[in-house]
Symmetry: C2
Subunit: 526 residues, 2 copies
């Protein structure tokens, strides 16, 4: 059922102001119309979240894990209605959305297993030493506790995996933080289906209704009020650099500033090392264009920059890439505004005096159609104009021709922070790759060899993060179990009577977590 | 040897601009005069730090541990000259400074052991699954890497343990980050002795000279330039709220914003529960005034706020505390500016219409002498004027009389973030303490029972942190081994050839660290 409601905890309400989503493939508006939540709706949902925080934050890991698993099952139970609505609202094809649903559900289940396992509590006990001189040592116990209510902003480019029940929501709930979601206005029907699934899971698990609220909306004022609300303690956001920076400013100006985890902007450099370029340039070109154009290039990890040493092997790579791109068909983008920004970005590069257009894809055939674009420039030009390093969200990429490998290193070192960097290399390239690796690792959250950055594995070892402006906080990731730590903070308890200690730190270890005692980690009791 | 130099890596240089420190007990200037480093000196030291970062950041844990131990030994080897100079510059007594030296050295050795043990690397491996469907899983490995050069601001109140080789420097070096210290102008001789000890350790361990530089100085411009330098990646600071906020603003306005770990302001509430107040009010009063006046109250964890239910037991506590305080002698504060701020803060409270002065200590006898002060007000007044909750750095404390325990909870919930909160409680108080504990834990980094917040143990389980404005980043601590994580960030490596993998993630585990494989922690190989 979709009726355009806002969810205030367990209650569904309709706002007077309404908006509709659009099928980007046809440009037609979709029924029904949706509540456009306003800044006035923020306070009540945040109050509910604050009321839910103490009990939810102190809940047993087993209970919290079952809650995450119940959300996964409830989303699964929506069935094909979810896929159909998401296709209509996003223009994304069925296999992609079915895969994304699988990822969203798998992510919730992975967090459930991780919550149950308990290492995230980081239970650390330094026992008292009453006889130590000159002063006795107190009993000191430390654990991670949830930060409190979290505001999550749904992202347009992953209507399931980075939206209402996406990575930010899953990791915040896993950490024990109530969540208030601002739904993305380009897929409100998809958002409502998922939000109601979470609402059902809250009820089924007997949790405080304030654990989850959902505010669909299309105004900046709504998001601004959410970040400014004093009960919100952290923010998860995936979107544009401008949007992320605006939220960071609001968060920093609060009476009590809070962290904003914004994943914003990345052009994901790919370095074609000479050996790889010589031995398999054509295959690399094909795989590159495939990664670039997949999903109309609407991935944070889209390969928007290719760096290589000039010469006949690079010429051959470019010719092959141009061939493939010229055969590529236009694809529907997620929304008119994303399509507009793509078109403007591509036009600006095409008209830049230092940039040559290598190839475009097949022409437009309907609304919001993106035509892939490939450009080239020299390292000297690239280094002299920062605008050439700006992200164009969509299937647009820039090849930078370098004189030699030292110039490759200079181009890398000039880059702003990135989510990923990729090395295409053969065995012969390894010696120089050794020199490049620290320069690369310093600028990114993930280094790949002989793959493509699109396709972000949800795993323990994943880092989907990186120095600013890839994210607002380069110490974190928004994908993988490590994402949970964004919403935790340590608290120490000194000489607390046994009756008062949180369960996670009690002597008899009722949560059966692996603890560090006097600096030495116990064997896991599981 | 103290000659007033700045240390640019291995080189000692003199600046034209000079300043002198002062013996706060006599008000007399101390020889020699010191280089007043300027903003122009920042770039060169930061360039050295950046040059040192790759090799130092990739160094073997064993080598880094030995470096920390060498610093400890070099500081020990300075001998009594260090204590004598620190006494002259700080006005602190010999036993306190000897204890602080022991703590500083012990801290370096604790970090050495922690670095060697290797858990901080958080080596996490999700092995490839080439046969997974629909897509194979890549080999994904994650580890913590140092963020890069760190700027450390020496604090006035711990000339050893929070200054040149204090907790910020020790934890940054432990993480593999080169450090540039801005020395505090009130103890430049102490600072130089310690800085030269670190410089000797760098040379003895054969490290890049840029691993450590030292800039004594007294201008804001120096610190501002340091935080603004693009090579600096994080900042450690302990000091005033105004100073910390200024550094946060500079860091946020950079092209690439960086984290500032500022420990700023805390009044450390102590809650006297009814049972404890009834059974041992007099003993509590004595211990309270002792904690309050120790070291002239110049501790971040000084108990500046006492909260209790009104009644005869509280009257008796107050009378006993007044007795003890009236007998307390004036003590030398660290510097004229700290003394001025204390005097102004106490005068403002004494002149506040809603505040009653309960007691003062013995009168002033010389320069920079602090006379302890104890005030009281009602919960209603306290809740209506935020100024009553501002920190007065020094031995000044406010007692808040509450109607009942619910009002106690309201007062706690009204507080800004704090480093600590203390419960004085008997068994009979435990049921209500259960209700208070989540409210307390939400506002602080450390909760104590039946102790006093002064005296911060350097341990694995310590949290010396807390929500804003106690610190700028409530997810962190500046004391204890967890402090190291402020200067680390995660990086993932995907499908890297074995030859390219960082040692910490190599299959044969040359650093012998405990790893997490596919979500399951291995037994420690040590």
């Amino acid at each position: 059922m979709i009726d355009g409601a806002m969810l205030f905890g367990s209650e569904a309400r309709q706002a007077a102001a309404r908006f509709r989503s659009q099928d980007p493939a046809s440009g037609q508006a979709l029924a029904p119309d949706f509540s456009s939540a306003s800044a006035d709706d923020v306070a009540e949902t945040c109050a509910l979240a604050a009321a839910a925080a103490p009990a939810f934050g102190a809940s047993d890991p087993e209970d919290r894990a079952r809650f995450l698993e119940t959300i996964a099952s409830e989303i699964e139970a929506i069935g094909d209605d979810l896929i159909i609505r998401a296709m209509q609202e996003s223009g994304l094809p069925r296999p992609r959305l079915e895969g994304e649903r699988g990822r969203t559900i798998g992510q919730l289940r992975l967090f459930a297993a991780f919550v149950r396992q308990g290492d995230w509590i980081d239970a650390t006990i330094d026992p008292a030493m009453p006889d130590r001189t000159p002063l006795p040592r107190p009993d000191l116990r430390r654990m991670n506790v949830p930060v409190g209510p979290v505001a999550v902003f749904g992202a347009s480019n992953f209507p399931l995996a980075f939206s209402v029940a996406g990575g930010d929501t899953a990791s915040a709930l896993a950490a024990g933080c109530p969540v208030v979601v601002k739904g993305h206005p380009s897929h409100p029907g998809t958002g409502e289906l998922v939000a109601r699934a979470i609402q059902r899971a809250v009820a089924a698990c007997g949790l405080h209704e304030g654990v989850f609220s959902y505010l669909p909306g299309e105004t900046h004022a709504l998001g601004e009020a959410l970040v400014a609300d004093p009960r919100i303690r952290a923010v998860g956001f995936t979107g544009s650099r401008g949007g992320g920076l605006a939220l960071m400013r609001i968060a920093a100006a609060r009476k009590e500033p809070i962290p904003v985890y914004a994943e914003m902007s990345s052009i994901n450099p790919v370095i074609l090392m000479p050996g790889a370029l010589a031995s398999r340039g054509k295959a690399l070109a094909e795989a590159f264009v495939q990664s670039l154009t997949m999903g109309a290039g609407q991935f944070c990890t889209n390969p928007g920059l290719v760096i290589a040493v000039d010469g006949p092997d690079l010429d051959a790579f470019i010719a092959a890439a141009a061939d493939v791109m010229q055969g590529s068909t236009a694809q529907t983008m997620l929304s008119p505004s994303i399509h507009d920004n793509f078109t403007k970005g591509v036009s600006a590069l095409a008209g830049h005096t230092a940039v040559e257009t290598i190839a475009r894809g097949q022409g437009e055939t309907g609304a919001n159609q993106a035509v892939a674009a490939l450009f080239q420039t020299s390292a000297q030009q690239f280094l002299s104009d920062i605008a050439l390093a700006h992200e164009v969200f969509g299937s647009s990429s820039m090849i930078v021709r370098c004189r030699d490998l030292d110039e490759v290193a200079n181009v890398i070192a000039s880059l702003e922070g990135q989510l990923t960097a990729t090395l295409q290399l053969d065995d012969a390239d390894i010696p120089y790759a050794h020199a490049l690796l620290p320069v690369l690792a310093d600028r990114v959250g993930r280094v790949l060899a002989n793959g493509w950055p699109t396709g972000v594995e949800v795993a323990h070892a994943m880092v989907h993060g990186g120095p600013f402006p890839a994210t607002s906080d380069g110490r974190t990731t928004s994908v993988g179990t490590l994402a949970m730590f964004r919403f935790l903070r340590p608290v120490a308890f000194q000489n607390l009577p046994a009756d008062l200690l949180p369960h996670a730190l009690a002597d008899d270890n009722p949560f059966a977590v692996a603890r560090r005692i006097d600096g030495v980690r116990e064997r896991s009791p599981r």
